[in-house]
Symmetry: C2
C-alpha cells in the first residue's frame, strides 16, 4: 500500500523545533519521522514513541525536513538534506543579499536532486513578506511601515548575552511608530561586574548602536521571559490614480508556535512545486493549505 | 522591434472601468489599447487619444482584457475574448458554486485557446480571499470573521431601487461585529408613493430579510453617495497546539479604484501562468507585481 502521508523530520529541538513537532502532529497530511539533534540525548519522557536521532538516515524514509536550527547553520544543513532528495523548509532570517544568495544556492542543489526547498518561511521574513506583497499589488505607490513588538528579539538578546559581565539578558523590541523601534535590554549582572561598563558596552554594540536603547538591571531575567510577539504593518498608498488608500495588518502571537506552523504549511507547498527553491512570495497560497484547491476556493474565495 | 508592453482593453466604462483606465495608464508594463462599450458613444472630451469602440477587434492588437462589466455578463464576455486568445481578468463576485463553475468553464476555453483567465480578482472575492488563506495557513484551527463596511453595497442598492415607489436608493452595509451586518437603506420616494408600503416591501425583499435593516426617507440620495468602503478580517486560532493566536486585517479604501488596481495586478499574473483559469488563491504573489522576482524578494521578503 502506498503511504498517503508525507514523513517529516524536525531538525533541531529548541523552541521552534518543539513547536514544529506539535504542528506536524496536528497536520492531516503529515506524519512525524522523528527529531534530529546535534548531540545524542535520551528522548524526553513526555514524548513516548517519538524517534530522536543524530542523523536523518536513522529515521527511515523521510520526505521532508523542517530546519529548526540556528539561521547560520541553515545553508549547510539544507544542502546536505536536499542532496539526499529530502525537501526542506527553513525560517532563515537574514533579509536582502544573504537570502537571495541562499535561494540561488539551494535552488541549484534542489534542481540537481529533483527536490524542493522553501526558505525564510517564518513570519518576518515569511507571512509579513506575503502581506507586504499584497499591499504593493493593491496600492503600487506609497509607503509600508513594519512595526515590530512589543516582543523579545532573539538576535538582540544573544548579542546582549555575549557582552562581558552579563550573566543573562533579554532584549525587547518596542514599536515607536512608522517603522521606528526602541530597545529595552534587561540585564542580570555577573558577580563583581561593573554596571556602567556593561551598559556602555551594550550601547556601543552594532546591534544596539542605531536604535534608542535603554538598559535596566534586574535580579532575575528568567522571570521576564514571554514568547509573545506582534507586528503592525501599515500602508497608505495610491491604487491607479486614487490616493489615500489605507491598509493595516496586525497580529499578536506566540512567536515560536507561529514560526513552526508557517514552516509546516510552507513545506506542504514545497511538495507541490517543480524542483527548485522558493520564498513565500513565489508560492500560490492554496498550495500551503491541506487538501484540494476546489474545497478552499469554495470556503475562502 | 518587439513590443515590450502588453496591450490592454478595458471592457465596460462604469465606475470600475474608469478606474481600470487609470490603473492601466499607471502600470509600467501595460499600455491601453482602448475601451469597449456596449453602445457607440463619442469618446469623452477629457480623454483625448483613448480609443472607444463597441468591439474589441476595432482596437488593434490586444493581449489582455479587464472585464469591468456587470458580474452576470462576465461569463459570456470572458468566453468570447478567451476564444480569440485574449487573456481576461474579472471581478466576478458570486461566491461558492457559481464561482467554481465559472473557473471550470473558463479553464476549458482558456486551455483550448492557449490563454489564461483570472476570475474574482477584486477585493472580496479577491485580496480578502488571499488574506483568509494566509490566516488559515498561520492558524489552521479557529474562526475568521469578515466584517464589511461602513460602505455602499452595490447589490443591495440595486435591489432597493427595483422596489415600486422608489425613485432612488442607497444601501449601506454596517458592521455589527463578528461577521454580523446591519443595513441602512436611504430612500428617495417617487411622487405619490406610500412610505409604509415601500418600507415593508424592502424589509420583505430576499436581499434584506435576513439582516437587521432600517429604512430612512431622504430628499436627495445623490447627496449621500460616497464610494469609500472598508473591511475588517479577524481570526483567533491555534498554530500547532498553541491557542489564542490573534490576527486582524483592516482597510479603508475607495472601492472602485481598489477593485480596478487588483484586476490590473491580477491580469499581469495571468500572462505569467500556464494556460488555464485561476483565482487569486492560486497565483504566486510575486507574479502580480511588475518586474522581476529577485527585485521584489530583495525589497519585500
Amino acid at each position: 500500500m502506498t503511504r498517503t502521508k508525507k514523513r517529516i523530520a524536525v531538525v533541531g529541538y529548541g523552541n521552534v523545533g518543539r513547536h514544529c513537532l506539535d504542528a506536524v502532529l496536528e497536520s492531516p497530511d503529515f506524519e512525524l519521522a522523528g527529531v534530529v539533534r546535534r548531540e545524542a540525548a535520551p528522548a524526553p519522557a513526555e514524548l513516548p514513541g517519538v524517534a530522536f536521532a543524530t542523523r536523518v538516515d536513522e529515521l527511515g524514509e523521510v520526505d521532508g525536513a523542517l530546519l529548526a536550527c540556528p539561521t547560520r547553520s541553515v545553508p549547510a544543513v539544507a544542502r546536505e538534506l536536499l542532496a539526499k532528495g529530502i525537501a526542506t523548509c527553513d525560517s532563515f532570517d537574514i533579509h536582502g543579499e544573504p537570502l537571495l544568495a541562499l535561494r540561488r544556492e539551494l535552488g541549484d542543489v534542489a534542481v540537481s536532486a529533483g527536490t524542493r526547498a522553501v526558505i525564510s518561511a517564518g513570519w518576518d521574513p515569511g507571512t509579513d513578506s506575503m502581506i507586504r506583497g499584497i499591499l504593493e499589488l493593491m496600492a503600487p505607490r506609497g509607503l509600508t511601515y513594519t512595526n515590530f513588538g512589543p516582543g523579545m528579539s532573539m538576535g538582540h538578546t544573544v548579542a546582549a548575552k555575549a557582552i562581558p559581565g552579563v550573566k543573562s539578558a533579554l532584549s525587547m523590541t518596542l514599536p515607536a511608530g512608522q517603522g521606528v523601534h526602541r530597545r529595552a535590554v534587561y540585564v542580570e549582572l555577573e558577580e563583581g561586574a561593573d554596571a556602567a561598563e556593561v551598559e556602555a558596552a551594550i550601547l556601543r554594540d552594532a546591534y544596539f548602536a542605531h536604535d534608542e536603547t535603554r538598559v535596566r538591571f534586574v535580579d532575575d531575567v528568567a522571570a521576564l521571559v514571554d514568547t509573545g510577539h506582534g507586528v503592525v504593518l501599515e500602508r497608505k498608498g495610491a491604487s491607479g490614480r486614487t490616493h489615500n488608500q489605507q491598509f493595516r495588518w496586525e497580529m499578536r502571537i506566540q512567536n515560536p508556535a507561529l514560526t513552526a506552523q508557517v514552516m509546516v504549511s510552507a513545506l506542504r507547498a514545497a511538495f507541490r512545486q517543480a524542483p527548485g527553491c522558493y520564498t513565500l512570495l513565489e508560492l500560490p497560497i492554496a498550495d500551503l493549505l491541506p487538501g484540494d484547491r476546489e474545497t478552499w476556493i469554495r470556503k475562502l474565495v
